[in-house]
Symmetry: C2
Subunit: 220 residues, 2 copies
Amino acid sequence: MSKAEVILLDCWISPFCMRVKIALEEKGVAYESQAEDLFGGKSELLLTSNPHGKVPVLLHNGKPVSESAIIVAYIDESWSSSPLLPPCAYGRAQARFWADYIDKKVFDAGKAIFMSKGEAVEVGKKDFIEIIKTLEKALGDKDFFNGDTFGFVDIIGIAMTSWFPAYEKFGSFKLEDHCPKFSAWIKRSWQRESVAKVIPEAEKVIEFVTMFRKMMGAED
Amino acid sequence: MSKAEVILLDCWISPFCMRVKIALEEKGVAYESQAEDLFGGKSELLLTSNPHGKVPVLLHNGKPVSESAIIVAYIDESWSSSPLLPPCAYGRAQARFWADYIDKKVFDAGKAIFMSKGEAVEVGKKDFIEIIKTLEKALGDKDFFNGDTFGFVDIIGIAMTSWFPAYEKFGSFKLEDHCPKFSAWIKRSWQRESVAKVIPEAEKVIEFVTMFRKMMGAED
């Protein structure tokens, strides 16, 4: 397969793009990343490929797929090696539920920490830790969300953790003190080649979030 | 199969519950509806079955599945007759995209009409019509979203239209004047037995929304 058959409209700092790249790495699919400049204007290709006009968009032989969790499921169904979703309908429903839970909760909760000031930071931090505790309960004593193997929920979740160093910095806390099992899952997952290759260095994420806070007037 | 093998934690006015009931009707699956009193206190079963504590929850042989679109996909995968999702990975990704688009946009846009006053109603109406126009474009000249047969996106979308009579009343507009093809799809779909059986009468929906507006202080 030629590399250009799989193109990702990408942004290095987007956890949603990271999900797609981790899934492609897990499947061993070669792809071309086309960086979008989200502040400098989006490409015509991005705007015409996704009605939301957002990265990531995966172009597979020219046909666009949008929304990161939908793209990861599409990758799983299109390249059958190393399945990411469980084989039974009930397992798949559970995996989709937790992926959706992460989508609905984690990013917004993190934003409520790093975009806030004073007392609101404490409220945001409390909410964030509650959400991670719910996820920690779903993880239980398993190595990964579906058991022994790294799969769909792990990909959806681990990409979000790329921003956790910024939440910890601006919220002045250590997640490990509150959620030791979830933190062990993060460490375990970050050791995977697919994840290590995709997740940017913590300092670079913190630098970006610091700049973003200033831009949005969240800093004095 | 005994009826009690499939139990739905249900609420008659919830479009999200309607989705599940339409899917079960399409598949010919017998089920027991257990009404939840959302204002009077939720059942222990609901609170322990879904981390969000929200209807609908489908209990299949006692095992809970939550989130309406995930439940509909689970029903499709568990009962193979009359498939709802397309057979190819790309078709499924497209169907999931539009279901997700409906989830992210339609209910909130409707709420912005019926919970607003004065100028805000006009803004809400304009946004709502734009969203339906995007969906109308995705429908194109087809009878249903996936072509000739009523499927996943149709179920996800048609349930939302149960509240449209209330949006039209409180927004003082007729969707048909703006989106004739989408309105024809509504009429076509409402004629299906599965849909007709599940969607409540327009007057009852309007009565509920009127009461809800009063309760929430959106009425003078």
